[in-house]
Symmetry: C2
């Protein structure tokens, strides 16, 4: 069933006859050609989900009613923030699209030391806006209850400072994979399973990799170097490995 996100909170749904928010009206009626009695799912800003039915459609607005609340856990028990040095081409789009399907809580992008294609300030704003739309669409399609935030960071210092109170911090370092580092991700998974940690931040380099001084800076701030298996993963694949592995470890049994 089609899922929409609204910026309204569930506490605002007091009437029997509810007015469809304009942006959803456009998507549902103009784009998807939904008609009276068609059903959809609505996720509120406070992440409640409702099964709804269109009760009235005219040229400019639609009314709906709530059939029932849906109470199904689709969010990972550990909130994962994916931090990526920007790469060339549409890799950021790919990371946000697939990362949202795989349960990421938040994305942060930055120009890191070895980023070949740096985003200048004009591009930063445009790109982040576009990535936020991609996250919304992917959240609708993958039936998330939470739309991951997409943020820009001006520097690695900035990332480190603003996320200092995250439970667990890792950096996916190619050299760790080569040195056969095998335990950090498993440790995180175990702690997440036993609810010993509920937030994780993971730093990934761009296609050029992570600079030694960045590794120094990150490890000084308690980021642990983690291997993601014995094969060399590309910049856009590594975050997906981490997310899938954590989902497997915490959501399957």
């Amino acid at each position: 069933m089609q899922r929409f996100f609204t910026i309204q909170k569930s506490t605002e749904f007091k009437n029997e006859k509810l007015l469809l928010p304009q942006e959803i009206f456009h998507h549902a009626v103009d784009v998807l050609r939904m008609k009276i009695d068609d059903q959809f799912e609505l996720v509120t800003a406070d992440e409640k989900v409702y099964q709804c039915r269109l009760t009235k459609v005219d040229k400019h607005e639609g009314q709906f009613t709530i059939i029932k609340a849906i109470d199904r856990e689709v969010e990972m028990p550990v909130k994962v923030t994916i931090v990526c040095g920007v790469s060339k081409g549409d890799k950021a789009e790919e990371i946000v699209k697939k990362g949202t399907q795989l349960g990421a809580d938040r994305f942060i992008f930055l120009n890191s030391r070895y980023s070949v294609a740096r985003w200048k300030s004009q591009k930063q704003i445009k790109k982040i806006k576009r990535l936020q739309t991609i996250a919304l669409n992917a959240a609708e399609q993958s039936h998330r209850n939470h739309v991951p935030e997409v943020e820009w960071a001006n520097s690695l210092d900035d990332v480190i400072m603003k996320n200092a109170d995250t439970d667990f911090k890792v950096v996916a370092y190619e050299e760790s994979a080569k040195q056969n580092e095998k335990t950090v991700l498993a440790q995180i998974a175990m702690q997440a399973r036993t609810k010993g940690l509920t937030s994780l931040i993971a730093f990934f380099g761009p296609e050029g990799g992570i600079a030694p001084e960045e590794i120094k800076q990150l490890t000084a701030a308690d980021y642990q170097c983690a291997g993601l298996g014995p094969r060399i993963l590309r910049a856009e694949t590594a975050p997906l490995y981490l997310l899938a592995a954590l989902s497997f470890a915490t959501e399957l049994e």
Copy 2:
């Protein structure tokens, strides 16, 4: 270090002075501009890996010598065959590229019931050839010892018959995810960890999903319906989830 695959077997390397195979010569010297004393890794058809050094380069051929054998386990303990109903666009390319990085052993594509963009016979040959090249390049880049085979199957019956003796068979079914199926993938991982299974075949539908009659046919042939977490994954993301989860479960500790 740059890695190349050769169709030669390690037993053919008897001389001190070895001749670089033509296709590698072209890639190494013409494309990558490698020079005398540059080092590279060579993987033979029997999946042995050697660290090598260029000893002579002229216009048409190159000679190299073996420095040492490299003995590092980079292949998953369970051989995973990914079977996909064909999807629109370049999703097959994406599955092969990322799936190779994530350790797949083999890929099979077919026109499945709900495939929107069916591959006709002329296209089948062209596409499979192209996908095989993508697998080779991805295997070089991710430092695999094995280049996954890419195959075409004429029907689901064909896939089922030719892979009947695989240890474990699964089908990634969206309905299983919705019904909160959580145990099949964990079972596979546990058996793989204890070496109880060494081969797995996993069937994935195209973007249109899997037809009920296909599920019937697959389950009749002992394919178990597996959920891949609580979120709805797209056709090109689901195989990556399975591979990353299995790598995590069998290659990290």
